[in-house]
Chain length 139, copies 4
């Protein structure tokens, strides 16, 4: 079952037209990725960045917007890993509200040493846990 988390659309997310200013969705995505790592993969971002000197910079990302979101909406963000490379992972995030689809994002992140600024192979535990959620394996 794919990982899900929720985020509430706040006053500060809304633009002059009364809908979510789209750059805010990328902040929400980043928070959802934090939740995914902490909740499903067993590694919180504080430990990752501070204790383990690792980060997951985004190499590329795309987003497709289907319907706008308004103030107060509780968005469900579903995170699904699509493919897993030696040090990269392609991830899909779908945002919905009360069953209505809002947007889909796909992105590639890389497991990286922060001090060396160099890609590193995923550690075995993370590899195993990400693999467990891969779409092809749940299919």
């Amino acid at each position: 079952m794919p990982f899900e988390t929720t985020v509430q659309v706040r006053f500060g997310d809304i633009d002059g037209a009364g809908i979510v200013f789209y750059p805010r969705y990328f902040e929400m995505l980043n928070s959802a990725m934090e939740d995914w790592f902490a909740g499903a993969l067993g590694l919180d971002f504080h430990t990752m960045h501070m204790a383990e000197d690792r980060g997951i910079p985004v190499v590329d990302i795309s987003a497709s917007f289907s319907a706008p979101s308004v103030l107060g909406d509780i968005l469900t963000v579903t995170i699904v890993p699509l493919t897993l490379g030696t040090s990269s992972c392609r991830v899909e995030a779908r945002f919905s509200c009360n069953g209505q689809h809002r947007l889909t994002m796909q992105m590639t992140v890389v497991w990286m040493s922060l001090t060396e600024r160099k890609a590193k192979p995923w550690p075995p535990e993370l590899r195993e846990r990400i693999s467990a959620g891969l779409v092809e394996q749940t299919a």
Copy 2:
């Protein structure tokens, strides 16, 4: 008992020195005020702004920072109304983490008609509910 809500320090809240970039605290405060209105005063921001054409602009605000917050901290935000005028309210918000005080904010908000851009008297239900939480009355 004062109203409490929580907010998690996210990667996007952190500056290059590894601590919360202080303007983010004002966004957190605004979200906490949303929670206070929805949770304690019975009026969510969507209804307030869209259906009732009302807002609560900030007239003045001050913040005093005691200790920094880092990635992953779960901050408790305590909201206490201090004084209540005809159309204004002075509010204190205290941020803490695991019992350690982080910052205190005080601000004055005004109950305002959005289309008229004019202060209005608090409606009776809001007045009653804010009054119930006033510090002098709980003292």
Copy 3:
């Protein structure tokens, strides 16, 4: 000659790893789009949104990151319209610093009535000015 504008990487754009937090690039892009409309297409965002009841919501967007940006970098953003539909436009934005490529974004925006929330045909003046910058026509 394609439209260019600049944006400075500020302290608030930087993450805990000392580089631009990527959601900030989408805010920078949005500001660059404002500059393009005001500077090259003759329509500032205030007039567009307030007086003309029009907006240009993003339907889809992709970004590909080549090199990180750090505090103080002055980024050059180059805006090139790629294709022009009846009410849509596909735009490419390239970010560079001192000649070094940083990222490329491509997005589709739609000319929309804000009150009707419906796509509208581009007005003739905008169509003409966007057309003048189309890559295929400059090729």
Copy 4:
């Protein structure tokens, strides 16, 4: 003559009521402080944070809002140091637009070692340049 810089109100700064969401003013202030340090005090934030391991965290801040700002406004931010301590400085920032006053902020910053997280005495060159702008000295 006090230091002045400008900042443009962008689409992303505006809330659902069509005016600047007030937490954005603190981001604008921080950018104006960067400009003040680089332009009047001879020390850019990149050098300060990266090469010199120094920062200027905000200890306390207050803001008083007089009139709202809207999309497209070019705000003039005037920075005036009020008092200068061994390692602290009290600064006033006034925001205006076409001569109309919008808001005033006052804050205390501290010259701090980032790795030690400890206040340090202002270096002589900074002390001298800040002193040159002190209000009591220009009075």
